[in-house]
């Protein structure tokens, strides 16, 4: 009996003997939760491009900080949040669509980042990890930063849930009801910017958007009320990030890529077998 249990659980427990795996698992789980919560707003408002843009804008800050010898993540956070505010401001005041505002800011800031990068002669591990993510390199300081971010985002969403939902669903009516819609839109973008930056550490610039979008999109195929989507997205994110990290441990492959691929697989499964909208289950007798 004991042997059977050991056989079942050893593969799960063994990696935990390494402190970097403990920290890595905790980091991806926390990042998964925070991305799933904010990602629900991103997916429901069609803002996926924003997450992608903010990740790239954060890269510019990281490159600048790297060149100046400052803290890479502080640099990323600064440009990430500034870009989030700039995108919202241009979209609101220049009378162009949000898509266009994102395109303008994102391209401009990212070009600046590339310009700065072209002056950096030797990439070190730091900047490389920033582009591709290295969850196994997460240190105690990073964990604290991620944990603080989780608390900020969860408090933000819990305290302002009804206002955020109203604003996301019908901003005009929300404004007419006295909800500070403009302030909430700015805050949501700032929180999104900060979320993207803690995500960069685990999966990198290019794949950060997947963490933001895929769990919520998967959940939206399975359940149909906003807070249900948010809860299922959290569950999907937890399962996928942890599974992905274990796979990367045993297969010795890049952790960020493994996590994103497992999440993508979850989405494809939901797409195929969703009770109401599944490609394979739709229209079958017995499928409610």
């Amino acid at each position: 009996m004991g042997d059977t249990l050991a056989f079942l659980f050893n593969p799960l427990l063994e990696p935990l003997a390494f402190p970097f795996m403990q920290r890595g698992l905790l980091a991806v789980a926390l990042v998964g939760v925070v991305c799933a919560v904010i990602g629900t707003f991103v997916v429901m408002k069609g803002l996926a491009f924003v997450g992608d843009a903010l990740a790239h804008c954060a890269f510019t800050g990281a490159a600048t900080a790297f060149l100046l010898g400052g803290n890479v993540y502080l640099g990323a956070a600064t440009t990430g949040v500034l870009s989030a505010v700039a995108i919202t401001w241009v979209g609101r005041s220049a009378r162009v669509s949000l898509d266009t505002a994102i395109g303008i800011i994102f391209a401009g800031v990212f070009a600046l980042g590339l310009l700065i990068m072209s002056r950096v002669r030797n990439y070190t591990v730091d900047l490389f990890a920033f582009v591709f993510g290295n969850v196994l390199g997460v240190g105690p300081d990073d964990l604290i930063a991620i944990a603080v971010m989780v608390v900020v985002v969860l408090l933000f969403v819990l305290l302002l849930y009804k206002e955020l939902l109203f604003t996301a669903y019908d901003p005009t009516m929300a404004a007419a009801s006295g909800v500070p819609v403009v302030l909430l839109q700015y805050l949501l973008m700032v929180v999104l910017g900060l979320t993207t930056i803690v995500t960069l550490r685990s999966v990198g610039v290019v794949m950060a958007v997947a963490m933001l979008v895929t769990p919520a999109a998967t959940a939206s195929l399975l359940v149909h009320r906003f807070h249900h989507i948010m809860l299922v997205a959290v569950a999907v994110a937890l399962v996928c990030t942890v599974t992905g990290l274990y796979l990367s441990f045993y297969l010795a492959v890049a952790s960020g890529a493994a996590i994103v691929l497992v999440t993508t697989l979850a989405f494809l499964l939901a797409l195929a077998f969703s009770p109401r909208r599944g490609l394979l289950t739709r229209g079958r007798p017995g499928a409610a």
Binding site: K162, L165, F166, D170, T172, A176, S220, H224, F226
Partner: protein, 265 residues
């Protein structure tokens, strides 16, 4: 702040107009959307606001809702200036402007009507849920409460939005195109609902393009094209000459056995 009972409040507002607009001019940046607009709507009225696109209908609504500050003139709701009357007024947007694929139930949407009373951080409780249920019963949509909003028909969508507006127990209802695109039965249901609400003393102000419906069913019409072209009962205001002036084009106006049909020419 003194707390007055509903009875006292109704006694106090019995004599005053539901909406009093005096010398109102308003617009955006340099462009005037409304110029020197004045009219007075008695309580319990069913008023249609009629005019071409860009006539200032939505600007008028925004001013009444306190979302746009007038350049000149004053607007009073039941004797109070707009900034003190927010809770007395509710708005129902055009169905086309609402995201019907958003993952919420009919009940979720109707509950949003109570948020203006709650303020930040407070969660809706029993009283708010009760108000939402009453509003759904008023619009005869109680059995659809747990449905996704995407499953509603056109008439049900409008009734759901009306229920949301009713949740805060408003005295004045501003409705944006409540009848457009409805079939005859749904339109008839909507009009019956309007009469029920006005008989309770509520005032309904609807912006609409359905001129024949205005002529047949509404008690008052405001013909608007930046300024007031005509204001009064449809029989007196919805005339060929007034309509042509309002829309700046020839309108087809037919009287068949006392029923008036108006078509854009």
């Amino acid at each position: 702040m003194s707390v007055s009972s509903p009875v006292q409040e109704h006694a106090a507002i019995a004599g005053v107009a539901a909406l009093e607009v005096t010398g109102l001019s308003a617009g955006y940046r340099q462009t005037a959307a409304l110029q020197d607009v004045s009219f007075s709507v008695p309580r319990g009225s069913l008023l249609a606001v009629v005019g071409p696109n860009g006539a200032g209908k939505s600007t008028l609504f925004k001013v009444i809702l306190g979302l746009l500050t007038p350049w000149k003139g004053s607007v009073h709701v039941l004797g109070r200036p707009v900034r003190d009357a927010r809770r007395l007024v509710a708005y129902m947007p055009q169905v086309e402007l609402v995201d019907w694929s958003f993952p919420v139930t009919v009940f979720d949407v109707v509950m949003m009507g109570s948020y203006s009373h709650l303020g930040l951080f407070r969660r809706p409780g029993k009283a708010e849920r009760e108000a939402a249920r009453r509003a759904l019963e008023t619009v005869r949509l109680a059995d659809m409460a747990e449905r996704q909003i995407g499953e509603l028909s056109g008439g049900q969508q409008r009734r759901a939005l009306l229920a949301r507006a009713l949740t805060s127990d408003p005295q004045v209802l501003l409705l944006d195109e409540p009848m457009t695109g409805l079939d005859a039965t749904a339109q008839h249901d909507m009009i019956r609902l309007f009469h029920q609400l006005t008989s309770e003393g509520r005032t309904i102000i609807a912006a609409t393009h359905d001129l024949s419906c205005v002529a047949a069913e509404f008690k008052l019409a405001l013909l608007l094209n930046r300024r007031v072209v005509a204001f009064g009962p449809p029989r007196e205001t919805m005339t060929q000459a007034m309509l042509n002036e309002t829309f700046q084009r020839h309108m087809l106006w037919v009287n068949v056995d006392g029923r008036i049909f108006i078509v854009h020419g």
